[in-house]
Symmetry: C2
Subunit: 257 residues, 2 copies
Amino acid sequence: MAKKAVSLSERELMEKGHLYYLRHLSIDNVIFGFHDNELKVLLLQWKESGRWCLPGGFILHDESVEDAAIRILQSRTGLRDIYLNQFHTFGDPQRDRGNHGIQQPKWMKTKSWFMERFITIGYWALVDFSQVVPKPDEFSSNCTWWDVEKVPELILDHNAILTRALQSLRSNLNEYPVGKDLLPQKFTMPELQRLYETILGKPLDRRNFQKKILSMDLVDRLAERKTGGAHKAPYLYRFNQRKYERAMKQGLKFGLD
Amino acid sequence: MAKKAVSLSERELMEKGHLYYLRHLSIDNVIFGFHDNELKVLLLQWKESGRWCLPGGFILHDESVEDAAIRILQSRTGLRDIYLNQFHTFGDPQRDRGNHGIQQPKWMKTKSWFMERFITIGYWALVDFSQVVPKPDEFSSNCTWWDVEKVPELILDHNAILTRALQSLRSNLNEYPVGKDLLPQKFTMPELQRLYETILGKPLDRRNFQKKILSMDLVDRLAERKTGGAHKAPYLYRFNQRKYERAMKQGLKFGLD
């Protein structure tokens, strides 16, 4: 069960955050958004410095890491009910704010826990960005979708975390089905192919793609065809609910099964 | 660069380990061993309690998580030069020794950092178990290969960590090549198939397997055939060094490429 978030001012967080949160540990969420053949990532902008970052935060002393990731995402961006995939833990010993050009406020006389080394646990999710309304928290002036190819320089090693999350998202395409919440209920093979191409960031061969998708045995071809286009009307497909859910649990294993 | 291990007695570790190591954080290594169609896992037995566990340990304050995993593996089992794959970080809030039937020694008056909650970062490796000689550290009476299907009850949640590592090892078969250090330089298709079957823990269809392997484009068929068997002599294959190394870096992506 998710723990209640503690509400600390920036000053309280610096001075005594470690009384509430585990030292040396943080979570960073990489939220990818797909819609209409565009792949984006959700970023926050710090009020004070104007710099951009991934929505991250800390783990309460009695909270599971998974619950922390969900709570942090909700409290920092307003997004809720999103399934997060843990993909990597980043543990460089130089991974602290001082080494990345961030100083602690002058009024602090002793070194804040906030300035120590942090090992961060990365999570990603993929959502339909037209279906959610991000809302910045009180530390942030903006919470916005960015084109994954046009992301600005982020704080700390957040650009590297994003790159690694994108690799994980892409290799996940071979392991698990994707598309159920990102495409209309009935879709054409070219629409599904464009979803894969957008996530992979490269064109795919049409015939091979269709063969692979059909070999996964996740979509049912409907008797209907899509109408309205200039070309020959393409068939419509629909995910098979039962098979999709099973593959989400067991994986596609479609390499060697 | 790997940091020098600190050498603490059990008493020193309990009393002041947190001066050297990051609190709340540990590493557990799941070392799988393959040889002659057997899959095993390397376990340590505690001298004191006689209970079995994965070879784990802690992260020095100024050490990278990867370096810590390598140092811990070497200091606890004697195994060196082994490539470790990070697969998951385990963060249940009940994950502490007290909740798993382990008490701190009576002579300690205050609660040891050792008894606090630990978030553990899991790594796995796959080695040829006939090529390495495990050696228990001073805390352990044994360091032994166990059949993965016959592992005893381990301390803490180590059985669950092992299960998850096995899942990761198996899904890795779809992403990266395997076999280069586990098979003789020249091998037959049935030998390669048995390697995959042993890791996956189930039989595979011979024709499908051959088709998939050849579609990965990693092995070259040699002009020679294996001799000495009762049946028709099978062809010998060899991994293509260049293609194997490229696939180790880029992944096979053999689902959707």
